[in-house]
Symmetry: C2
Subunit: 320 residues, 2 copies
């Protein structure tokens, strides 16, 4: 068992902290997708909850611990989903939440962060600029900075998805995981390696936001100057060293996919599974589309990690 920062016993304990509304999400074969993909496909659906993404599994753990310590405030940077989740988790526990986001983030995500009662501060630039600003606020105000993927609670919360995947009989041959900051990939990957080591753990990132994948391949942090992808949820440029170290221990592969494949994946999920998803949630399907031979005849599971999308942009992309 690889020695990541994560701990399987703590991940099991996290299930008792997380509101059950975020646990035991649907996991089912989507046979209608399979003729187009050439392999058996199961989806783990993380969108049917109050924040429409998997992120609340992590923020529930974070906010549960904060509340236990008597903390009354927290700040985070977010591409849009973590902010909604922390706002939701904080609201129920009397924690004032501040979210820093790029003003270019999807309006739907920003609107929901505000609607959930968080203070939203917008910055020019991207998620890396938001991270800097969030750190400055935390230092100035003396409040907890929640750092996605770096804070092990965010990884261990996401890892509870892994516990639900390994309980499946029969098991999968591979699990396809959207790769952004790395909380989801290291979390699910840790559990797969600990409890179902024969399952291939494949991370998927857009060609237009390849920093973590390049870092994984070169086994050192590689940053990029910019990103160019519709998959706003995974568009980071500065991989976190400790997260990369964990990813090196649990990922069997990390692949990059084209924007056209992401869009094709979104369209397939709509047409054949009836699912509206945000671009990051289609990365797994995109990876199969780009390498059918690799997956032919195998059974893959993919985590449909979010559905927070501007409807107008969605229709522009999928053309439906």
């Amino acid at each position: 068992m690889p020695e990541t920062r994560l701990d399987t016993a703590r991940i099991r304990a996290a299930r008792r902290i997380i509101d059950p509304i975020f646990l035991d999400t649907p996991l089912y074969r989507c046979e209608a997708l399979e003729p187009g993909l050439g392999c058996a496909v199961s989806v783990k659906l993380e969108t049917a909850n109050p924040v429409r993404s998997f992120k609340a599994r992590g923020t529930e753990v974070v906010a549960g611990l904060l509340a236990g310590n008597g903390s009354r405030a927290a700040v985070c940077a977010s591409a849009g989903n973590l902010g909604q989740a922390l706002a939701w988790s904080g609201r129920g526990r009397g924690i004032d939440v501040t979210v820093v986001a790029s003003r270019l983030a999807p309006a739907a995500k920003l609107g929901r962060i505000r609607a959930l009662g968080a203070t939203l501060e917008l910055v020019d630039g991207d998620i890396e600029d938001a991270r800097e600003r969030a750190a400055a606020i935390a230092g100035h105000d003396g409040i907890r900075l929640v750092e996605d993927s770096l804070d092990v609670e965010t990884c261990e919360g996401a890892a509870t998805i892994g516990l639900e995947l390994v309980d499946t009989v029969p098991s999968f041959d591979a699990v396809l995981i959207a790769l952004g900051g790395g909380a989801l990939a290291t979390g699910v990957g840790h559990v797969m390696k600990a409890l179902a080591p024969s399952v291939e753990v494949i991370c998927v990132q857009p060609l237009g936001a390849p920093a973590m994948t390049r870092s994984w391949r070169e086994r050192r942090v590689v940053t990029t100057d910019s990103t160019d992808t519709i998959a706003d949820g995974v568009a980071g440029r500065h991989p976190i060293p400790a997260v990369l170290d964990d990813l090196l221990l649990v990922a069997d592969d990390a692949v990059l996919v084209r924007e056209a494949s992401i869009i094709a994946g979104m369209r397939m999920l709509l047409d054949h599974a009836g699912l509206v998803v945000e671009p990051s949630a289609a990365l797994g399907i995109a990876a199969v589309l780009e390498d059918r031979d690799r997956f032919a005849g195998r059974h893959v599971a993919t985590v449909v990690c979010g559905s927070n999308v501007d409807v107008a942009a969605y229709h522009r992309w999928v053309g439906a």
Copy 2:
């Protein structure tokens, strides 16, 4: 407790027959819907499973009993969702399934019935014509005729949704249920009256397919000559007397909604909940839209009962 044909102990037992993939479906507040509706809204999502509707809860019970009796074949009439569900449930148990459907049923539904391995026979006319033909096949071939809503297993399977609803804390003030043949309404209604009698049970049907609602209001079977609605899943004309008797015992109200409200409900579920649904699944939202005063400040739950929709038709309706 009203003396319907259903039995609460049998409904609890049904949970042990039904594949867990169809049980314990997501149930969550959709706050983003609430400003537009003026009340608290929770959705019970029955679309995140291999057949994208609630119908497999019933067919799992039917097919489980058939297999236990050594039966190897069954036939049903279907508007499209029951047929998929029976095909799925039969396939796993070695039961040959024949589905009779209208050739006007959505192509997506017909295609999935075939893909799941059932024999599909198309008839001119509508679901009532399909019912006649299915009965003729059953008589001729000496195989089990599965009759939706009349067969108490279909109602008791659907009623397991009710068990999941009454476990919720805090409870709802009202539950909004699509009304077609009546399996869902009498099933969920029975459980609510037995275990949560303070919750108002409101059935919703399209103005263009009002037979069961008119029957409920007049307390006698009222048939219609035709239907005119996009909600293909609930477009029956000949209510079943025994089902009406049960509905009279468990429904607090039955309301009719306009097509424009159904479409507005579908659009709201897309825009604010990220859910693609078939028209029947938007009936509950449509009912709130048509009578906001009735629901103002209350907490309603609505069963999102299916998402099998032709994508082209969907976009024609919702204009997105």
